[in-house]
Subunit: 185 residues, 2 copies
Amino acid sequence: MSEETSIAEKICLTPVGFVRSTITHPELKADAENISLAEGNQGARDRVKKLATHVSEVVIDERFDGILDGIEEFSHVLVLYWPHLIPQESRSLLKVHPMGRKDLPLKGIFSTCSPARPNPVLVSAVRLLSRDGNVLKVQALEAVDGSPVIDIKPYMTHYLRPEGVKMADWMDRMLEEVGAGQGDG
Amino acid sequence: MSEETSIAEKICLTPVGFVRSTITHPELKADAENISLAEGNQGARDRVKKLATHVSEVVIDERFDGILDGIEEFSHVLVLYWPHLIPQESRSLLKVHPMGRKDLPLKGIFSTCSPARPNPVLVSAVRLLSRDGNVLKVQALEAVDGSPVIDIKPYMTHYLRPEGVKMADWMDRMLEEVGAGQGDG
């Protein structure tokens, strides 16, 4: 396969459902030049704390009847979703100050978890509290209300839990400051 | 946001790069009705073993100059990619025997890691061995040669490493049988 073929082709997805949540706006604001925290650093701290026990629903479209069967045997699922409130023009950003913090050096978008990225497919491993037909009740999902859902997978240790993980120092510090460090989770 | 709006809209992605690998065909074959293991169960075992030390490259398109800056400070990255050799018609499957094994009961696609799914965005957490400009060298990535890459993220413990994970018994057994159980990884 030539490089050109794989780069040129477009990939089209059809959402399989949506998120129902009391979270109505994203934590990060984004435009064509920057990202910034909607509520500042203290706001982020409060938000992380609240999020830990936040319950939301993932509603799968009824045309996929049966596609969730067996998911209730897993304690955690991986939710892939689309941050639909992030403006299209912010998807061409290449570098940002992480979390919009000017005190941190510019980093490439792929070394951050900014939702403003070329293909903003967001991935979160969350606890599955219960399943009722085509509706999953999950804990600590950051997606805002109405976010299109792209995929649901069981949380598989083999693919998602490597040994010896070391994050960048600036990321460790930033997570600790908002109460999302390894010791806080 | 109404249910209909979020379900109806299409989401289009443009690959940001591709995978360069000596793996040339997917482990699972898929058609409109079934999935099956290309090389049987023993083949899968051999493959899992080889994969653990397999090195491949993720090549990011040069128009994204700088987007990887800082990624080398992380030990692991999350690679989102598209299994381009899985035929379109297999994306409408709703239930399968996991890994094509008829001895296991039918399960909904969302409770399996089958690449034949409505939106086959595959997610893998892999060790980052090195970065050379727009090329990442990674370990244990199962993607076949030429797979379009959708996104690269740093491996963030906060989003990806929940406590108290319990998988379905059939999944635990299946992973153990191919040497990919928690004790084997």
